[in-house]
C-alpha cells in the first residue's frame, strides 16, 4: 500500500492532481456502484520550481473538436513525423519546426517527466495588471486609518507598471481620477441608484467621444491610449498622488444619527468598479479589491436597512423566508459576478467587521471570479494586515502568486466524460463529445473560466465512466485526461499549462482489491465534501447531511468486510479507514451546519471550495497537537479526551489557530513559574506551541484567527466546539474524571456515530 501512497504523492507533486480512484473501474455500472465518483482535485497552477516554461506554443491535434495538446502519451512516428492523438486517435503531422525530432531528440512535451508542461505564448499585446481598490469609508477612524496604511503600503508591493484605480464609497460612491495635479478629482455617484454599464461609462466619460473630437485633435488619442487612463494609472507614475489621496481620505462625512447604520453603497460601488473595467479593459487581468467594514445598507445589493433596531438576517430568518433583501441582493451580486467573470476580472472581498457584512449575498462575487474572500474583525488587526500583504508575495521567480483570466479545458479519452467542476470557476458552456449529461457541480461544459487563481487554487473535477459493461477494455488499457489551462501570468505573459495524466482501467469484478487499494480516501473525502457543500448551497441542510450519510453507508456496505447483521464484525481496509471519521467531522463543520453559525459563514465554504487537499482536510478535521513535559509535541486525537490538565494544545482549523493551556498549566502560568529561572523548562513548554503557531500563521493564506486561551477561558469554545465530544455531561461519570474535559453538548460523539454506521452498514435493510 505504501506504493500507492507514494504514487499518489508523486502525482500530486508533479501534476497537482489527486484522484479519488487511482485505478478506474472500467464500466459505467461498476463505477456508479463505487459510490464515490471518479473525480480529481486539480491545482492548475501548482508551483513547480523545477518546471521552467518552454518558450514556444503547444502542438495541437488538428481535429477541430479535439485540439488536444501533444503529450507524452501520444504515439509518435518519428520517421513519418506523425503523431497520433491519444484522445481522438487522429494522426497529425508535426509542424515544420519539429522537423528534427527523433527518438533521441525529443521535444520536452514528449518526455514522460513532462506530463505537466507550461508554454509561454508570445503572441498578443501584453497589458499590465490592474488593481482597482474599492474602499468603504464608513469605518471607525482607527479602522480607516489602518486600512489607509495598508493600502498605501500595498502600492509599494505592486508591480511598478501595474495600473491602479481607487473607488471609495459610503453614502455616495466616488471614482477618483488619479492623474490630476493641484486638485484631486473624483466622479461621484448616488449610492442608491443602479446604473447600467453603459450609463456608468457615459457618466465617467469613457465612451468614445464623438467625431468632432477626433477631427479637432488627432494627436490626442495617441497621448491617451485609454480614455480610462484618468482612473487607472501606472503605479510608478502616481504612487505619490495616490498615497496623498489615500492619506486625505476622510470618513464618510454624512451624519449617522443614533440608532442608524451608516449608509453604505457597496452594491453600487461594485457595480461601478465592474462597469469601469468592463468598459476599459475587458479580458485583461484585473482585480477589484473590495474593502468593506459593514453590510451594504442602501441601493441595489443592500443587505439590511439602516435602522439598527432591525438586525441583519440570520439563518433563522432565511429559513423562514424573512430576509427581505437577500434574494434581491444576491441577484444583484450574482449579476455583477457573472459580468466580471465574462470580462475575465476577479473580485476580492476584504470584509472586516465585528458583525456580519453580507458575505452571504456577496459571496458569488469572489466565488465565481476566483477572487479572495477575507473576513476579519477589524482592519486594524494583523489578521487583515498580513493577509493583505500576503496577496502580494512573490514566488521563487520573483513573480506574484496570482494569475488571471484562466480557462481550464479538460479533455478525456472516450471511456470518460466530464460531469462538472466545483471551485472558483464559471462554466464557459462549451459542449463537446466528452461532456456528460449528468452534472456534478458546474457541469454541461468541458471548459471553465477561472478569473483569478493562485498556486493553491484547486478545483474538484468530476467524471463519469461511460464505457459500457459489455465492451470491456483490454487488459492494461489506460484512460487519459488532459487539463489545458490558458492564463495570464502575473508577469503579464499569456501561458498555457498542460497536464496529461493516465490511469489504468480495472474490472471491478476481478480486480476489486486493486481498485480498493488505489482509493485515495483523503481526496475522496474532500471531493465528497465539495459535492456536499455545493449541494448545501441550493438544498436544505438536513437533506445534504442525509445524502452524505447515505453515501457513507453505501460506501461502507460496498467496501467494508462484515457479516450480515453483525455490527461487531465490521472492518474497513486501511485505504478506507479514515474516511468515516472525515465524514463525521464534516457533518459537524460550519460548511454544512447552520446552527451557531451566521449566514456569513459562507466565507468558510468559499475557502473550502478553493483550497488544496491538505488545507481542505484541515478544514474538515482540524489538527490537534499536544505539548507536555512527557515528550516532544505529538498529534493527538481531536477528541475531548485529549484535553488534559497538564497539556498545552495547539489546534489548527485552517481558519483559527487555537492554543489552549490545560488547567494545571494555566495555574502554573498564573503563578508566574515561567519567570522563575528554575522553571525554565516550563517557559520553553509555553513557548513551543507559540512558535509552531507562528510558523503556521506565516504560511497560511488567509491568515487564521489566532486565539490564545486556557482552561475555562471564554475563547476555549473554539476548541471545545471542534473536538469529538466523547465525554459530555451525559456520560461524564461513565468515563472517569482524569481522562479529559467534558463537552456540554448533545451532539453525538464519533464513537456513537461509528456504532450507528456499523449497524446500518451491516443491516440488510439498507
Amino acid at each position: 500500500m505504501a506504493t500507492y501512497l507514494e504514487f499518489i504523492q508523486q502525482n500530486e507533486e508533479r501534476d497537482g492532481v489527486r484522484f479519488s480512484w487511482n485505478v478506474w473501474p472500467s464500466s459505467r455500472l461498476e463505477a456508479t456502484r463505487m459510490v464515490v465518483p471518479l473525480a480529481c482535485l486539480l491545482t492548475p497552477l501548482k508551483e513547480r520550481p523545477d518546471l521552467p516554461p518552454v518558450q514556444y506554443e503547444p502542438v495541437l491535434c488538428s481535429r477541430p473538436t479535439c485540439k488536444a495538446v501533444l503529450n507524452p502519451l501520444c504515439q509518435v512516428d518519428y520517421r513519418a513525423k506523425l503523431w497520433a492523438c491519444n484522445f481522438c486517435f487522429q494522426r497529425n503531422q508535426f509542424p515544420p519546426a519539429y522537423g528534427g525530432i527523433s527518438e533521441v531528440n525529443q521535444p520536452a512535451e514528449l518526455m514522460p517527466q513532462f506530463s505537466t508542461i507550461e508554454y509561454v505564448i508570445q503572441r498578443g499585446a501584453q497589458s499590465p495588471l490592474i488593481f482597482l481598490y474599492v474602499v468603504d469609508t464608513c469605518l471607525e477612524e482607527d479602522d480607516l486609518q489602518a486600512l489607509k496604511e495598508s493600502l498605501q503600503m500595498s502600492l509599494s508591493l505592486l508591480p511598478p507598471d501595474a495600473l491602479v484605480g481607487l473607488i471609495t464609497f459610503g453614502r455616495m460612491v466616488q471614482v477618483h481620477e488619479l492623474s490630476c495635479e493641484g486638485i484631486s478629482k473624483s466622479y461621484v455617484f448616488r449610492g442608491t441608484k443602479d446604473l447600467t454599464a453603459k450609463q456608468i461609462q457615459d457618466m465617467l466619460g469613457l465612451t468614445k467621444p464623438a467625431m468632432p473630437m477626433q477631427q479637432a485633435r488627432p494627436a490626442q488619442p495617441q497621448e491617451h491610449p485609454f480614455a480610462s487612463s484618468r482612473f487607472l494609472q501606472p503605479v510608478h507614475k502616481i504612487d505619490m498622488n495616490l498615497t496623498d489621496l489615500l492619506g486625505e481620505l476622510q470618513r464618510d462625512p454624512w451624519p449617522v444619527t443614533q440608532g442608524k447604520r451608516p449608509l453604505r453603497s457597496t452594491g453600487v460601488a461594485l457595480s461601478i468598479a465592474v462597469g469601469l473595467l468592463e468598459g476599459t479593459f475587458p479580458n485583461t487581468g484585473a482585480r477589484i479589491m473590495l474593502f468593506t467594514g459593514g453590510p451594504p445598507t442602501q441601493g441595489p445589493g443592500m443587505v439590511v436597512g439602516d435602522e439598527l433596531k432591525i438586525p441583519i438576517r440570520s439563518w433563522h430568518d432565511i429559513e423562514k423566508d424573512n430576509a427581505r433583501f437577500m434574494k434581491k441582493a444576491t441577484k444583484h451580486y450574482e449579476m455583477l459576478a457573472n459580468r466580471t467573470a465574462a470580462n475575465g476580472h476577479c473580485i476580492d472581498i476584504y470584509a472586516c467587521a465585528l458583525d456580519q457584512t453580507g458575505l452571504l449575498e456577496m459571496k458569488c462575487c469572489a466565488n465565481l471570479t476566483g477572487g479572495y474572500m477575507v473576513m476579519g474583525d477589524s482592519f486594524n488587526t494583523s489578521l487583515f494586515k498580513q493577509t493583505f500583504q500576503r496577496i502580494f508575495t512573490k514566488d521563487f521567480n520573483g513573480d506574484f502568486r496570482m494569475a488571471f483570466g484562466a480557462t481550464l479545458d479538460v479533455k478525456t479519452s472516450r471511456e470518460l466524460k466530464i460531469a462538472g467542476a466545483i471551485g472558483p470557476c464559471v462554466s464557459l458552456n462549451v459542449k463537446g463529445p466528452c461532456v456528460s449529461e449528468n452534472e456534478l457541480g458546474v457541469g454541461g461544459t468541458s471548459q471553465w473560466k477561472i478569473c483569478g487563481l493562485d498556486p493553491t487554487s484547486t478545483l474538484g473535477i468530476y467524471f463519469e465512466v461511460v464505457n459500457q459493461h459489455n465492451t470491456p477494455i483490454p487488459q492494461g488499457g489506460r484512460g487519459a485526461i488532459q487539463f489545458v489551462t490558458h492564463y495570464q501570468h502575473s508577469s503579464t505573459q499569456r501561458r498555457i499549462r498542460v497536464t496529461t495524466i493516465a490511469r489504468n482501467w480495472a474490472d471491478v469484478q476481478s480486480q476489486l482489491r486493486h481498485i480498493e487499494a488505489a482509493f485515495d480516501q483523503e481526496a475522496a473525502a474532500v471531493l465528497m465534501a465539495r459535492l456536499g457543500v455545493f449541494r448545501a448551497e441550493s438544498e436544505e441542510g438536513p437533506d445534504v447531511l442525509r445524502w452524505l450519510d447515505r453515501q457513507l453507508i453505501r460506501l461502507c456496505q460496498k467496501f467494508g468486510q462484515y457479516n450480515k447483521e453483525d455490527p461487531t464484525s465490521f472492518r474497513l481496509s486501511d485505504s478506507f479507514s479514515l474516511y468515516p471519521q472525515f465524514m463525521f467531522h464534516l457533518r459537524r463543520s460550519p460548511f454544512l451546519q447552520v446552527f451557531n453559525n451566521s449566514p456569513d459563514s459562507s466565507y468558510y465554504r468559499h475557502h473550502f471550495a478553493r483550497q488544496d487537499l491538505t488545507q481542505s482536510l484541515i478544514m474538515i478535521q482540524p489538527i490537534l497537537y499536544s505539548y507536555s513535559f512527557h515528550g516532544p509535541p505529538e498529534p493527538v486525537l481531536l477528541d475531548s479526551s485529549s484535553i488534559l490538565a497538564d497539556r498545552i494544545l495547539l489546534m489548527d482549523t485552517f481558519f483559527q489557530i487555537v492554543i489552549y493551556l490545560g488547567e494545571t498549566i494555566a495555574q502554573w502560568r498564573k503563578a508566574g513559574y515561567q519567570d522563575m529561572p528554575e522553571y525554565e523548562n516550563f517557559k520553553h513548554l509555553l513557548q513551543a506551541p507559540l512558535d509552531d503557531a507562528q510558523e503556521i500563521l506565516q504560511a497560511r493564506f488567509p491568515m487564521p484567527r489566532y486565539i490564545n486561551t486556557e482552561h475555562g477561558g471564554s475563547q476555549a469554545r473554539f476548541l471545545l466546539s471542534k473536538v469529538n465530544p466523547s465525554q459530555t455531561h451525559n456520560n461524564l461519570y461513565a468515563w472517569g474524571q482524569e481522562t479529559g474535559a467534558p463537552i456540554l453538548t448533545d451532539d453525538v460523539s464519533l464513537q456513537v456515530f461509528m456504532d450507528h454506521l456499523k449497524k446500518l452498514a451491516v443491516s440488510s435493510a439498507c
Binding site: 493641484g182 486638485i183 484631486s184 473624483s186 455617484f189
Partner: protein
C-alpha cells in the same frame, strides 16, 4: 423751448375763465352739447387743479382748474379741445390755420391761447400763488404758434378712413422736417376698434361747422405743437424745485410724497417712507362703486428692504423678548402706531380688525391725557412707520433658529464660457470679491459661507475645506437624478479656507482650458445648489453663470423654439411662457428651501430667457444678460453688476404679508416671488432693489374718518442668520368725492402698476389685447375725471387731472415698449428679459425705464456741478451742435450731433473731428480737461444711481447706430409702429370722448 415763468403767468391771465369749477356736476355734458362743441377746434388747456400739497382734505382749487386741451389734427375724429367756455362762439379763425397740424380732411384751427404746456403744480411754487394756469409754451395766443390743435369734426370723416388696422403700415419716423402725420398712424394705437360705423351718426351737425370742408378736401398738414402738451420734464423739474428742499414728514395721513425723480429726505413720523411704499393714490374711494367708476387701480408698490440714503436711519430693531412681537390676537397684525390703547392702557384695539386685545403686563404703560402711551416716543413700534422685530423661534422653519445663509457660485465651464474668457475673468474677480460678502451692521466678517460648483453637461462640486492641502473636485454625471456629493467642506467660511479657495479659483480656468464640451445643463445645477443648501440646513443664494441653451440630456432640457413669426399672433404668449413645467416645480422647491437664484446669462444666441428666468423670478432673484459677451467690451459692466449683486444686502427665506384695515384687502401681487396661497408672498431671497406691487380691492365700505391702513410685514433671515420681522405701516385717506381721489394720485406708481399688470398679461393674452386693455383703462380713468370732476367745458377739450397729466405720455411709452410692441431688432430673449426685469422694478426705475432721461451736455455752464436739466425724449429736441446723454436705467447713450464743435470733440474724444469719432465706442478717453471730467463724472453719477451698470454707447448723428438710439426717443413715433406722444394723446382724447358720449 420750455416756457418761461413769465410766459406762464402771461398765459394764466387768459385762462381763468376756462373752468370755474373743479367739480363738475355729473352728466353735465349732454350729448347735444357735446356735439356742438365737438366741431370747434379749440386749443386745449390741461385741467389743472391746485391744492396745497397733501394738507388735509381742503384742497384749494386755485382758480379755475386749468383745462388744457391738447389737440391733434391728425386724428380725423379726435376731438379738439376748446378752451372756450361752453357756448362761446365757434372758432375764431380757422384762418389762423396752424401749419403744424396736418389732417387730410382739413383743420379748423381754433384759438391758441388755451393750449397749455405742462402745467406745473401751481401752489407748490411760491411765485405762482395766483390762480395758476396752464401756461402755453409760447407767450400769448399767437397765431403762428403751433400749439393750436385743430381737428376735423369726426363725423366728417368717412368711417372707413378713421382707423387703419392696428398693425397698419409702419409710419415713417417722425422727423422735424416732416411735420405731417399720416392719418393711418393712429391705427397703431392698440385698440382696434374698427371703423366704428356709427361714429359719424352722433354728429349729424357736422355740416354746421361751416368752416369745415368735406373730408376729401386736403389741407396742408398741420400739427400739434409738442410743446403744448404736458411735458414730463417740466413736471419733474417743478416737483424738484417745489418739494426737493424740505424733508418729507410722514406724520400726516394721506400725503402724496414728492416724485421719485425728486431728491428729498424723509422723516418717519408714523408712516412708512415712500422709499418703502408708494401708492397709486393716497386718498382712496370709500366705496367700491366709486372705485369701479374711477377705474384708478388701487395699488401699492412696496420695497420692503429698500436702501436708504445715509442721512436716513435704517429701521430700529425691537426686541419683545421671548413672547415675540406683540400682535393682534385676531388678525395677527403687529403692534403699530395706529393701535388704540384703551382702558387706561390695559388693552388695545386693533386698528385693522377692531379686536380688543389685552396688553401683556410686561408691555403695560400708562396713557397720557390724549390717550397716548407715555412711552410712545420711546418705542419705535408706537411712533414710527417702519421698524423691525426680532423674531422668536416660533417664526423659524422647523422651530430652529436658522444657520447663516450661504452663497454658491455655479459656473458654466462649457466651451463658450471658456472661449470668451468669462471663466478666467470671473474666477479672478471672485478671489477679491469674496472679501466683500454682505455683513450685518458692524460685524467684522461676513457670516455667509460660500461654495463652488462648475458645470457643463455634468456638475463639478468642490471640497474647499480648510484642512485640505488642495481642493477636491467631485464630478456628478448623474444629472437626471441630482444629488450633492459632499457635505463637509462644500460650504466654507472664506477666511478659513482662503488658501484652498484661491487655489481652486486659480485652477478652474486651467482645468477647463481645453474643454470641447459645448452642451450644458441647467435645472440639475439649480437643483444641486438647492440640495446643498438643504443638506446644510440653511437658506442662501445661488449665483449662476450660464452661457447657452441647456440642450444636454437632463431634466429641463430645452429646445430652440424661438419663432419670430409668432409675433402678433395669438400664440405670441407662448414665447413668454416656460417651455416645460420642470422649472416651476424646481422653483417651488427652491422657495421651500429659501434658495434664491441669481442668473447671469452670457448668450451668443437664443437661450430662452423666458424659461431660464422662471426660477430666478419665482425665488426673488435677479437675471442679468450679457449678449455676445466679450471680455474687452463687457468686463466692466459684468464685474460691476456682479460686485453689486454679491455685496447686496439680502433677506432670505422671507414671507411677506400685507394686512389692511377692514374695507379693502390685498388681492393681487406682482413681482419676483412665489405664492402658494392667496395671501403670503414667499421670497426665497429679497434684496433692496426688489419691489412687490400689491393691488387692493374693496370688500366693504371705508370710513373717511378712520382712513385705510396698510401693514406690510416681512419675515426674513438676515445675512447674519438672524430671523427678523420688518414692519411698514401706511395710513391713507378715504374720500367720498372722486375729485379727492384724482387729486392724490401718483402717475409714476400708476404706470408701475399698469406696466406690471400688462407684462403679466402677455403670458395669457395676445399682446394686442393687453395694449387695448391698457388704453381702455386709461381712457376710462380720464373720462371719469372729465365727467365727474372737471368743470363743465367743451367736449372737445381734453381735460386731464393735474396728477395724471403725464399718464398718456407714460402709458404710450409702456405701450410701445419692447414687450408690448417689439421692433424688428428686439429678440425674443430681450423681450422676456425686459419683461422679467420690469416685474420687480420700483417706481423710480419704471419711470426712467419707460421715459428715458435725455441730458444735453454742453448747454449748461461747464462749472455747474448739478445734472443738466433734461430735455424731452424726442428727436426734435436734439440739436446737432450738441452732445446728449440718454439713460433709461439699463442703457446709456452718448449722442453726438453732426455739427458739434471741434473743440468739444477734441476735449471729449481726443480726436480732431466728428468723423474720427468711433461709432459704438464704449468708453470715453480719460482726458484732463473740464468737459471730459464733467461728462465722465456725470456718467459715473448716473451709473451710481442705478441698480445695474449701464454700458455706454457712443452714437453719432446719422450713423447706423443711431437707429438704436432713436428707439429710446419715446415721444417720437417708433419704428415698430408705436405712436408718437402727440398722436397718442389725440387718440386718447378720442377714446375719452367716445366714453363720454
Amino acid at each position: 423751448m420750455e416756457p418761461t415763468m413769465a410766459q406762464y403767468q402771461a398765459i394764466s391771465k387768459h385762462l381763468p375763465k376756462v373752468c370755474q369749477e373743479p367739480h363738475l356736476p355729473r352728466g353735465h355734458l349732454q350729448p347735444q352739447q357735446h356735439r356742438l362743441l365737438v366741431a370747434r377746434l379749440h386749443m386745449a388747456s390741461l385741467a389743472k387743479e391746485m391744492y396745497r400739497m397733501g394738507q388735509a382734505p381742503r384742497f384749494r382749487c386755485k382758480g379755475p382748474p386749468t383745462s388744457l386741451a391738447s389737440a391733434s389734427g391728425s386724428f380725423p375724429n379726435s376731438g379738439l379741445y376748446g378752451s372756450y367756455p361752453q357756448g362761446q362762439a365757434p372758432p375764431l379763425s380757422q384762418a389762423q390755420g396752424h401749419p403744424g397740424i396736418q389732417t387730410p380732411q382739413r383743420s379748423a384751427p381754433s384759438q391758441a391761447s388755451s393750449f397749455t404746456p405742462p402745467a406745473s403744480g401751481g401752489p407748490r411754487l411760491p411765485s405762482m400763488t395766483g390762480p395758476l394756469l396752464p401756461g402755453q409754451s409760447f407767450g400769448g395766443p399767437s397765431v403762428s404758434q403751433p400749439n393750436h390743435v385743430s381737428s376735423p369734426p369726426p363725423q366728417a370723416l368717412p368711417p372707413g378712413t378713421q382707423m387703419s388696422g392696428p398693425l397698419g403700415p409702419l409710419p415713417p419716423m417722425h422727423s422735424p422736417q416732416q411735420p405731417g402725420y399720416q392719418p393711418q398712424q393712429n391705427g397703431s394705437f392698440g385698440p382696434a376698434r374698427g371703423p366704428q360705423p356709427n361714429y359719424g351718426s352722433p354728429y349729424p351737425a357736422a355740416p354746421t361747422f361751416g368752416s369745415q370742408p368735406g373730408p376729401p378736401q386736403p389741407l396742408p398738414p398741420k400739427r400739434l405743437d409738442p410743446d403744448a402738451i404736458p411735458s414730463p420734464i417740466q413736471v419733474i423739474e417743478d416737483d424738484r424745485n417745489n418739494r426737493g428742499t424740505e424733508p418729507f414728514v410722514t406724520g400726516v395721513r394721506g400725503q402724496v410724497p414728492p416724485l421719485v425723480t425728486t431728491n428729498f429726505l424723509v422723516k418717519d413720523q408714523g408712516n412708512a417712507s415712500p422709499r418703502y411704499i408708494r401708492c397709486t393714490s393716497y386718498n382712496i374711494p370709500c366705496t367700491s362703486d366709486m372705485a369701479k367708476q374711477a377705474q384708478v387701480p388701487l395699488a401699492a408698490v412696496i420695497k420692503p428692504l429698500a436702501r436708504l440714503p445715509p442721512e436716513e436711519a435704517s429701521p430700529y430693531v425691537v426686541d419683545h423678548g421671548e413672547s415675540g412681537p406683540l400682535r393682534c390676537n385676531r388678525c395677527k397684525a403687529y403692534m403699530c402706531p395706529f393701535m388704540q390703547f384703551v382702558e387706561g392702557g390695559r388693552r388695545f384695539q386693533c386698528c385693522f380688525c377692531s379686536c380688543i386685545n389685552d396688553v401683556p403686563p410686561q408691555y403695560f404703560q400708562h396713557l397720557d391725557h390724549t390717550g397716548k402711551r407715555v412711552d410712545a416716543y420711546d418705542r419705535p413700534e408706537l411712533s414710527l412707520g417702519s421698524y423691525e422685530f426680532l423674531a422668536t423661534v416660533d417664526y423659524c422653519k422647523n422651530n430652529k433658529f436658522p444657520s447663516p445663509p450661504a452663497f454658491i457660485f455655479m459656473i458654466d465651464v462649457s466651451y463658450n464660457a471658456i472661449r470668451t474668457g468669462l471663466v478666467r475673468l470671473l474666477c479672478e474677480e471672485l478671489k477679491s470679491l469674496l472679501d466683500f460678502l454682505p455683513r450685518e451692521g458692524g460685524a467684522e466678517e461676513s457670516a455667509i459661507r460660500v461654495g463652488f460648483v462648475t458645470y457643463n453637461k455634468v456638475l463639478h462640486f468642490y471640497n474647499v475645506k480648510s484642512s485640505l492641502a488642495q481642493p477636491q473636485m467631485m464630478v456628478v454625471s448623474d444629472v437626471a437624478d441630482m444629488f450633492v456629493p459632499l457635505l463637509d467642506g462644500f460650504l466654507v467660511n472664506v477666511n478659513e479656507s482662503r488658501a484652498v479657495i484661491s487655489s481652486l479659483l486659480d485652477q478652474i480656468p486651467e482645468m477647463f482650458a481645453d474643454t470641447r464640451e459645448t452642451e450644458t445643463v441647467f435645472v440639475p445645477v439649480i437643483q444641486a445648489g438647492m440640495e446643498a443648501l438643504k443638506a446644510a440646513e440653511c437658506a442662501g443664494k445661488l449665483f449662476l453663470f450660464h452661457t447657452s441653451l441647456p440642450i444636454a440630456e437632463a431634466p429641463g432640457k430645452l429646445k430652440n423654439r424661438d419663432d419670430r413669426k409668432l409675433i402678433n399672433t395669438d400664440k405670441e404668449k407662448t414665447l413668454f411662457q416656460p417651455q416645460t413645467g420642470a422649472y416651476q416645480t424646481l422653483a417651488k422647491e427652491c422657495v421651500a428651501q429659501g434658495c434664491c437664484v441669481d442668473l447671469f446669462l452670457f448668450p451668443n444666441q437664443y437661450v430662452d430667457v423666458a424659461t431660464l428666468s422662471v426660477v430666478p423670478q419665482l425665488t426673488g432673484g435677479s437675471v442679468y444678460k450679457y449678449a455676445c459677451f466679450q471680455v474687452e467690451n463687457d468686463q466692466e459692466r459684468f464685474l460691476s453688476d456682479l460686485r453689486r449683486d454679491v455685496q447686496k444686502v439680502v433677506g432670505f427665506d422671507a414671507v411677506m404679508r400685507v394686512r389692511t384695515s377692514t374695507g379693502i384687502r390685498a388681492v393681487d401681487f406682482f413681482g419676483a416671488f412665489y405664492m402658494s396661497n392667496t395671501t403670503d408672498v414667499e421670497l426665497a431671497g429679497l434684496d433692496g432693489d426688489k419691489t412687490v406691487t400689491v393691488e387692493f380691492k374693496h370688500d366693504d365700505r371705508l370710513n373717511e374718518d378712520s382712513g385705510a391702513l396698510l401693514q406690510c410685514a416681512l419675515l426674513y433671515t438676515s445675512c447674519a442668520g438672524q430671523r427678523r420681522l420688518r414692519i411698514h405701516n401706511l395710513a391713507l385717506n378715504c374720500c367720498t368725492q372722486l375729485a379727492d381721489l384724482y387729486r392724490n394720485c401718483e402717475t409714476d406708481t400708476l404706470i408701475n402698476y399698469m406696466a406690471k399688470f400688462a407684462y403679466r398679461g402677455v403670458l395669457n393674452s395676445p399682446v394686442k389685447a393687453v395694449r387695448d386693455t391698457l388704453v381702455t383703462q386709461c381712457a376710462q380713468i380720464l373720462a371719469c375725471y372729465r365727467k365727474n370732476c372737471a368743470s363743465p367745458s367743451s367736449a372737445g377739450q381734453l381735460i386731464l387731472p393735474e396728477c395724471m397729466k403725464l399718464l398718456p405720455v407714460y402709458l404710450n411709452c409702456v405701450l410701445k415698449s419692447d414687450v408690448l410692441q417689439p421692433g424688428a431688432e428686439v429678440t425674443t430673449d430681450d423681450r422676456a428679459y425686459v419683461r422679467q426685469l420690469v416685474t420687480s422694478m420700483d417706481v423710480a426705475e419704471t419711470n426712467v425705464f419707460f421715459y428715458p432721461r435725455l441730458l444735453p451736455l454742453t448747454k449748461s455752464p461747464i462749472e455747474s456741478t448739478t445734472e443738466p436739466p433734461a430735455v424731452r425724449a424726442s428727436e426734435e429736441r436734439l440739436s446737432n451742435g450738441d452732445i446728449y446723454l440718454l439713460e433709461n436705467g439699463l442703457n446709456l447713450f452718448l449722442w453726438v450731433g453732426a455739427s458739434i464743435q471741434q473743440g468739444v470733440v477734441q476735449s471729449l474724444f481726443s480726436v480732431s473731428s466728428f468723423s474720427q469719432i468711433t461709432s459704438g465706442l464704449g468708453v470715453l478717453p480719460v482726458l484732463d480737461n473740464p468737459l471730459s471730467k464733467k461728462v465722465r463724472g456725470l456718467i459715473d453719477s448716473l451709473r451710481a444711481q442705478r441698480s445695474r451698470y449701464m454700458k455706454l454707447i457712443v452714437v453719432k448723428q446719422e450713423d447706423k447706430l443711431e437707429m438704436l438710439f432713436k428707439h429710446f426717443l419715446v415721444e417720437d413715433k417708433s419704428l415698430s409702429g408705436g405712436a408718437s406722444y402727440v398722436d397718442f394723446l389725440c387718440h386718447m382724447h378720442k377714446e375719452i370722448r367716445q366714453l363720454l358720449s
